[in-house]
Subunit: 324 residues, 2 copies
Amino acid sequence: MTTEYDAVDHRVTADDTTVHSTWNNELEPVCTIEPGDVVRFECRDATNGQLDPDSVAADVAELDIDPVHPLTGPVAIDGADPGDVLEIELLELEHRGWGYTLVLPGEIGHGLLADSFPEPAVHVWELDDDVCHFVNGIEVPLNPFPGIVGVAPAAAGTYDTFPPRSVGGNIDIKHLTAGSKLFLPVAVEDALCSVGDGHAAQGDGEVCGTGIEAPMSVTCRLDVRSDRRIEQPQFETDGPFTPTGRDEPTFGTTGIDETLRGATENAVRGMIDHLHEERELTREQAYILCSAAVDLKINEVVNAPNWVVSAYLPESIFPEERRR
Amino acid sequence: MTTEYDAVDHRVTADDTTVHSTWNNELEPVCTIEPGDVVRFECRDATNGQLDPDSVAADVAELDIDPVHPLTGPVAIDGADPGDVLEIELLELEHRGWGYTLVLPGEIGHGLLADSFPEPAVHVWELDDDVCHFVNGIEVPLNPFPGIVGVAPAAAGTYDTFPPRSVGGNIDIKHLTAGSKLFLPVAVEDALCSVGDGHAAQGDGEVCGTGIEAPMSVTCRLDVRSDRRIEQPQFETDGPFTPTGRDEPTFGTTGIDETLRGATENAVRGMIDHLHEERELTREQAYILCSAAVDLKINEVVNAPNWVVSAYLPESIFPEERRR
């Protein structure tokens, strides 16, 4: 948490002149950099400071949705042209010791199983150098990444930060940890890259609608590749593909349905039942843990008319005496 | 390949009295076992002997769909009642030295991108003790599992083997390797378990419609759990979650779309483009390799209206000089 990457060319703080909560290709760049420069983005938490380490469920119910997803930027990369590829090499991610996972109710509820979880809930995680602390001794390994990395859209106008798009944005790819590279298709001159929505860890799917949301600094090298053309994001990563970084005992619940969405819902419902009935968690805690640490894999998408998605729960997040 | 699990209680050969290509709860059991017994199922390849190690694309075009998915069984488990859980502990899987991956055309075409691949194609894989051999020195680690494990459906009648259902069947969960346990909800008296569709390896998704299909024997312990109730399959596994069993360099292509299906198609199209343009494979070879070795993860399914699915290509399957 304390060692800053030592070759930062540009520091972008998070203040009223650098934070924006919508995408728009007419936003004034906060700075212009040369390809290959290293930028340190200070990023606020996803609620833009509406929550703190003492927040409780009642605070979640009062959240204002408009300031959500404060992004830091945009940074202009000199010489990036539409059709080029912006290469973002993630170098260092530093949290501030805490984060939260929310179950959001009502109009701003956007979890996979929003209809089944109408009440707000929150878990505030204490983060240390290695793990994120949950209840009952459960520890989710710390694997920070930016939930949102994007470049400005080609089309004029203002765009919501919630949906990811071909130019990136809210892609929530948990494997974009330090050491990874993300490639985005540049849509406007100078690319205009913004970063935010730091996550201390997340399961594939982010099923309750939030990862382990945490204020964070994101240090990355931004470079331009004129030799490639891509339609949607690509990346290089070493994982982690399991919490321990190696094969480990894992419990799976399988969802089978005529849509991938339905199969996903079935798999997650099965996992919540399991966590509630056999692992001593409330349903809200189970939903939150799924979002923070349970992965979703598409097992098959070709055996019409039914597809298979499974949810994968690693045993290593439990204290040894509670593992199966 | 040669060491048979040494405590087999029942051997079920694959012959006209034990092989069936549809599900039906009135099928006569081939044997009745006690809970906890070990059964060795001999399983034919998915085409039921229509292909052999010398088969070429023209043979694929001539395939008869009716005999596809010859299953071995059913085995009756004494005392299994509807509502119980059948526990299938996978002990040993033995292939016969070869397998194949098909791109199926026309009426029997069922790949994720069937419209883009109207011509039949096949790769016959030489299998050894550790790897499955592809072109250009590419080696996919051997991780055999049964594509189909199921129990008889509750409803009377004859059912196609292609779609998986809540009682299992064609679930194609690549992590059901030796050492894993699969749990299925029992729907009829004595459960009536059948097994088939051996795969020497497969990527999550099985995107071209076939894994590395291989004749195989499947040895497993069948037990009954009356203390649990499940709606759809569950399992325990140690993976492998990557080809090497640990974190490793991986290239990803991301698909973003308003449906999980569309996002999956975009991710796989991006990977096929990559394998064709940067890895010296034909498009058919690329599609086949995706089905055999590329994994699909749901990155987020909550940022409406766009979901994110990525395809993950491990570098370790390439010869060292061809890795990025």
